[in-house]
Structures are given as C-alpha cells and as structure tokens.
Subunit: 365 residues, 2 copies
C-alpha cells in the first residue's frame, strides 16, 4: 500500500466552537479522512451543530467528551476546545490512543504543552496543531524561494502582522478573551500565526531573546487585545510582529534576505480558496540617477489549490496517522517540535510584557 | 499674478553628489524652476558633473561654494552635501538670503537643525528638506484615505521598512558610512523615510517615546548599517520601522486603522515614474465559517503622474519661494516643523541605542 493511502482516518470532533465548522468541512474535503463522531458538552449542543452544518446521520453525536474518546471507531480527534482545557482533553484523548489534531494556541504555556507532547510520545500517537497556512501550497513555494541562495541569499529580517477588528459582542463574550478559558487573547489567537511565520522563515531556529513591544492593550480581565515583539538572533537577524483585535484586518508577512524578498498580505487565510499568490523580487537595485527601481520589478507568483489549506492540513495529518495506524511507522515528531517552539516564543512575549518589556531569553529547555 | 506663477526660481546646486543628478533633472522638469549655477569644491569637479549630465552652457560653474552664494542671480540653493556640512553651508546660504532645499538627513542632530531653521526665520527664507515621496500625488491620495473616518477609522499601527543591499565598494567609500561626513548611516539615509512615513500617518504627532530595536549593526567606525525602533503614543498607538543597508531592496509602508488599511511597497521611489499605486481596504471581515476574507477584498488605486515626484517637490518648493520673493508672503514654516520632528525621532533612536535600548522620551523642546 502506498504511503498514506490506507483506509480513511476516522475523526471525532471534541467541542463545537466556530472553528469546528471549518474543520468539519475540511474533513469532508480530505479524501483520506472521514468524520465519525462529534461530542459537545450536551447532546443538544451537538444536535444544533449537526443541523447547522448538515452533518450526516452516520456521524455519532455524544453529549460528553469521554464517550467519544471511548468510541473504538475513532482514530483521531480534532480538539477546538478553549485553550485552558487542551491539556486535560488532549491527554485524555492520547491515553485512549487517539491521534490529536489540536487547535492553536495549543496550551496556556509550554509546561502544559510538554505534558501533551510527552503523552503523545508515550502513547505513540501523531500530534499536529491546527495552523492551517503551514499546509498551503503557497507556503511550500515561498519556502522554496527563501531556501534558494541565488534568489534569496541570507535571511536578514522578517515582519509579520495579523490584526482584525473585534466587535463589542466578541470583546464581551468570546472565549478568547476570557482569562478562565483562553487567557492568551490576541497573542494566542493571532500572534501565534505571526510567531509561527517568523520561525518558519528562520527554519525554526529559536531566537536568543524576545522583547515585547511597549503599549500592549488588555481587556478588563488582563487578557491581551493587542501586542507585539521583536525577536533577536545572534547573527544580526531581527524579526518583529504585531497582533491586534482592535484594527482592520491584515495578515502580512514580509521576509527579506540579502538578495531576495517576499511579500504576502493574506498569509493566514488566502483571499481566495482556489489560488493564492505572493510577490517576490531578487537583486533589485536603484536606477542611476536615483529616481526609481531598476527592472525587473517584484513579480507575483500564483499558486493553484485543488483543495483548501484546511483540507490539505487534514490530508497531511491523516497520512501520518495512516502510517502509524496501518504501517507501524513512528509518529512524525517534527510537528510537535514546531508547535513547541511557537509556544516558547508566545510564553516569552508574555514574560517580557510582565517583566516591564525586558528581553527574555528563549531556551529550548 | 496667480499663486506661485511668477518668474522661475533660479536654482544653484551646492555639491555634486550622486543625488544632485536627480535634482538637476527635477529642476529641468519643474516649469517654475531653472538652474543657473553649480558649485563644487573645485571647478574641475563641477565640469565633470556638467559633462556627465549635459548641463547647459548657460549654467555658471563655480569651484567653491561661497562664490555661488555670492551670485545675486541665485534665488535658492539645493544642498546635497554630506550631512555634517549642512549646518555650515545652509546657514551661509540663508544669510545670503538664499531659500534652501536641504537634502536629508538634514543635520547631525536637532540642535544643528535648529540653527538652520532659526537662520531661515531670521532671514525670512523658505526651508524644505529633500524628502521627495512627500510630494507624490499618491501620497496625497493615501492621506485622503487615512483621513476619512468612514474609510479608515482611527489610526492604530504603522509599520515601515526601507532596506537596500549596499555593495562592498559602497560600504567602504560612501560618505553615508563615514562618521566624519554622514555619521547617521542607514538611519539618516533610509530610516529617515520610515520615520517620516510614520509621522506623516500620525499627522505629525510626536510619539511620547522611542525604543530602538536591539541588534542594530554598525561598520567599523560605529556608523549604523541597520537598525529599527518602535514609537509609542499614549493612546495605544504603536509604530515600528526597520532600515538596513544589508538586505534586498524594500520600501514598505503599512498603515492600519480601526476600519481601513493601506499597503504600499515602493513608497519612497515608485516602481514607475508615470504612475504609482497603493492597496487599500475598509471593513474587511472573516467569512463564516472562518476560511477566508469576505468581499470586497483589498483594491489597488492607481495615481497618474505628469511629472515625477522629485520635480513635483521642486515645483512646490518653488511656488513657496515665488510667494516670498515676489508676493511678500511669509515663508511656509510647516516644512521646517515636519523636518524637525523627523530629526527629533532620528535623534531619539540613536539615543536609545546608546542608552542600551531604553525608552527615550521625545519632546518638542
């Protein structure tokens, strides 16, 4: 049997958050995955989700999470619960030998995340977080570009921002702003992507230190609504990011090397599901006299998508699950390592904010 | 006589730096300006410039700066000398009642700049610095957009970067990297534009404090090759910038309000001289489920140019000069005020670098 072409991975979804609708569709679109069960805190909530999303009758509904985890027909679970509940339910799932696709932010801190990752290692299950843009074909194409020394040279700086304008209802009620549920606020919700994009650009080389930007904003419960940071490496490399729930939507990534540059303004959620593009340029110079840019100018590269990035994430996760389930392979631990580095930087940003914006050293630990 | 439509302003150029070629062309293209004299440190240097640029025989060449300043046929001077010489020669020009178009960075620090500005006030001459992009019609259009509350809302954040890759010859020989000539390095050469763009976006509201980014790089003489900073205002507004002579060319500006956003990737020198564009978007939202952006997506607005931004700068400066020269108007001091705020932030970035990246308060003084 060819790699990852086994029987479809049977998914259960634990929790019916808004993002569960996205993954419900993604599992449907992924040829190597199938949804078999949905659990919510009550059966009625699961039924509301079923009717709102047109869930097939073949999918079992559960009114509690444990019962889904006890269902032997479930290979893997997608967990979109509030972040503070991740460690409990991810570990519970892993101990029932369920492979785990865990929504981001993955944990309240790296200590919690380590409990989850360790449980995955002990139980031999696949772990992946729900950072969808990592699985877009554009991301692969951009990586090709920045990995080519003749096009890109050596990485020098990265800037990323992800902002959106939360309305008053969201600010008052969303779990992402409740310190008892998702205390990481904008940093966990969207700063996560900026940090991931920076680590992605550096080939996951952890920065030596992280310095939070001054002027973060918080809600009355102390949950971040906007913040940012600079990340510093030994060799002069610097990256900055800004995230906010209080500004017009942006999802910008700019990666600059000595010889090349890429720009993308929809890196997390592409404007269109069937294609996406990025702008790149290599070896630009000034004209003489200095009145403009010498040709060639930055060019747009368009990447077509047969299935959207969320479905491609499910496909890639499911291939790994099939490898473990049917082919006695070891789980692919690179995804856990990437998640852990992201969480380490999230923790460092918060620590820097709490420590009066002093630099916080980042250690693999 | 209509505003600024008097006899053409008669320009002298003091110094034959590379950027003088740009202004030589700009003066030629500006209908209300004419070049009458060029001075260099020696007549032979002026003659080289003349033959390299096709300077008309009607233009007087001088082998020293004083003689040009003594020429009564010169109304205004453009000064592209190394920054450390600005205070001496700008003041000398002003005391001869010459209006001054001063290349940026305008001075080594605000104390020097204040000497220049005060001399302009005392002598009643027009001052403007050579920040060309301020005079592009696109800049006006972008300002219209961010000034419209229904399109842009309230300003929340700005990010700007300007980078280019200096070659080894430039790094070894360019005056911008010689501490005895232009000790501000990348900060003065290109960080100047980033800082100006941030101030422009805030309607020239000075930040409360400036914090330099860690990891600046310097040449062996201690001149900055790359650096950046965050600028902080009381109301939660934050802006960041990065400038470098060690990375592929970029000239990015992203301005984000609560309701709108603009992106431009060639804000200092447009890709094309006859038109330029910027992308803008208002009131973007996520789709439900969260798989993308709701329409309308960001749109490109194209602005046509009859004459390039450098020529438009000369036109606008010359109009003001005609007002003073022929119509007994007072010089327009807004340009000096904008220059001064830019220089104050430049100074604060350097002070923060020198003070171990601590915040530096910015005062109007």
């Amino acid at each position: 049997m060819a790699d990852g072409e086994g029987r479809a991975v049977r998914f259960g979804i634990i929790g019916c958050a808004a993002i569960a609708c996205t993954l419900f569709r993604a599992i449907k679109l992924a040829p190597n995955a199938t949804l078999v069960a949905i659990a919510s805190r009550s059966l009625s909530k699961a039924e509301v989700f079923k009717s709102a999303n047109g869930v097939e009758d073949s999918v079992t509904l559960y009114g509690d999470y444990e019962s889904l985890l006890d269902d032997p027909s479930v290979d893997a679970v997608y967990i979109p619960l509030p972040t503070s509940l991740h460690v409990k339910w991810a570990v519970a799932a892993v101990e029932k030998k369920k492979h785990v696709l865990l929504e981001k932010p993955t944990a309240m801190n790296v200590a919690e995340l380590d409990v989850i990752i360790q449980a995955c290692e002990v139980n031999g299950v696949q772990f992946m977080d729900g950072t969808m843009w990592m699985h877009h074909r554009r991301t692969d194409k951009m990586k090709e570009f920045i990995s080519d020394p003749s096009l890109f040279g050596e990485l020098k700086t990265v800037h990323s921002n992800f902002t959106y304008l939360a309305d008053s209802n969201f600010l008052a009620n969303d779990i992402r702003l409740n310190p008892n549920l998702d205390g990481l606020g904008a940093l966990g919700d969207i700063g996560w992507y900026c940090i991931r994009s920076i680590l992605w650009a550096t080939d996951y080389k952890l920065p030596n230190s992280v310095i939070a930007n001054r002027n973060p904003t918080f809600n009355d419960s102390g949950v971040p609504l906007s913040c940012g940071a600079s990340l510093i490496w030994d060799n002069g490399l610097i990256a900055t990011f800004h995230c906010s729930m209080q500004a017009q939507m942006s999802m910008d990534l700019c990666v600059i090397g000595t010889r090349g540059i890429i720009h993308v303004n929809d890196f997390v959620l592409p404007f269109d599901e069937t294609f996406a593009s990025f702008n790149h340029c290599s070896d630009s110079r000034f004209t003489e006299p200095i009145i403009g840019w010498r040709r060639p100018l930055p060019r747009e590269e368009v990447v077509q998508m047969e299935i959207p990035q969320d479905a491609r994430m499910v496909v890639e996760f499911s291939k790994l699950v099939v490898g473990v389930r049917d082919e006695h392979r070891s789980p692919e631990m690179k995804w856990a390592a990437i998640t852990r580095k992201t969480q380490l930087v999230v923790d460092a940003v918060l620590a820097s904010i709490e420590n009066e914006f002093k630099p916080v050293d980042v250690h693999q630990g």
